[in-house]
Symmetry: C2
Subunit: 217 residues, 2 copies
């Protein structure tokens, strides 16, 4: 009985990892679609968001079903509840990639990002990818040390975000209001994506230790 | 045994309603702090966000504890899982009120919102309050009819949001980039707040019927 339970628990963990892999590709592809610009790639990200959504639906149904059938307690129950929350965070990260891709499509054939901001957006994408890679490792190995590292990696995203807003506010900004609005929203999408990665890392920490992760200052 | 269970379930529902009431006040106060401007009120919203957070922590611990002790299945388990998600949505709505209050504080003693946009922000606040009031009724009475109505009420928020962005893009916009960035973020906070209300309403619908609510087009 317990063996089947842990097999199904492993299956749930695998699906979460699969979601993280898809989210990572979606973010990278959305960024590429935005900066190239590449309409077909933007359309692909927009369309494939439904794959992430349906994995989440399926995963949550399996998780609830497993709770109902096996009635786990303590650490196993904590892990399953954490899975439900992590799938919600990953689904939302997929939505943010979808938003970036929609921004790319809306401005196509123009590039939504003025050339001097392309390096920052590229860096934000790299930080997001690094965070998601680390997150996958945290999820796979239930690694509480790296879970705490993700919180400080997020500081790098916040720094880039402040730099982005600083550029918009600079007297030399020559791209007008529309581009400033686009960049404000895009900046927020990357920043929120990193926030969700932090949130998932904190859930792994909690589900392993039963304690909340200390808040980094 | 079952009676204690339903008593505790009622307690959880009451806490969710309490969160909704606090979120509603936080949004209204944050808007007032923003438009007056009122620094003390902004500080109050910022500080009291931790009350909403701690109700969520306590509520989630009780919910998980109840699942572990009573091992509910079917509809009861669905209700408890939905509670976990609804508390997460409400907590996030509290964060958005907190963001609005921080914006108010950052620009104080100036008003972050240019005078011609005050009516739109007032309307967005009213729509948010109406949505949260209706949501409380949906949660209290497990009312699937009104749960579906909330989705179309959200269209009103989207309309206001588009109007707001339209004003920023108008040639007559005379408040520069900084105010445009502020308004883009503020608009997004109200819009996201309404999205979370829709999401909670959909969870009530699902937990009552076992079916996903039809998606409004």
């Amino acid at each position: 009985m317990r063996d089947i339970f842990h097999e199904e628990l492993d299956g749930i963990s695998q699906s979460l990892l699969q979601m993280a892999t898809l989210v990572r590709s979606a973010m990278t592809d959305a960024t590429k679609a935005l900066l190239t610009p590449d309409l077909a790639l933007a359309e692909k990200v927009i369309e494939e968001d439904s794959i992430i959504d349906s994995i989440q639906h399926d995963l949550d149904a399996r998780t609830i079903n497993l709770i109902a059938r096996q009635q786990p307690v303590a650490s196993d129950l904590r892990t399953l509840v954490a899975s439900l929350r992590m799938s919600a965070d990953l689904e939302r990260m997929g939505d943010l990639a979808h938003h970036i891709a929609k921004q790319a499509r809306m401005r196509y054939p123009n590039v939504a990002v003025p050339s001097e901001l392309i390096p920052i957006i590229n860096e934000m994408d790299k930080v997001a990818s690094r965070l998601i890679d680390k997150l996958s490792a945290v999820m796979e190995h239930r690694d509480t040390v790296r879970a705490l590292e993700i919180e400080s990696d997020d500081d790098e995203m916040d720094r880039l975000h402040r730099k982005l807003i600083g550029t918009l506010l600079d007297d030399n900004w020559a791209h007008g209001i529309e581009a400033a609005i686009d960049m404000t929203l895009l900046g927020r999408y990357y920043e929120r994506c990193a926030d969700h990665a932090v949130s998932i890392a904190r859930r792994v920490y909690f589900s392993v230790t039963g304690e909340f992760a200390p808040i980094a200052e």
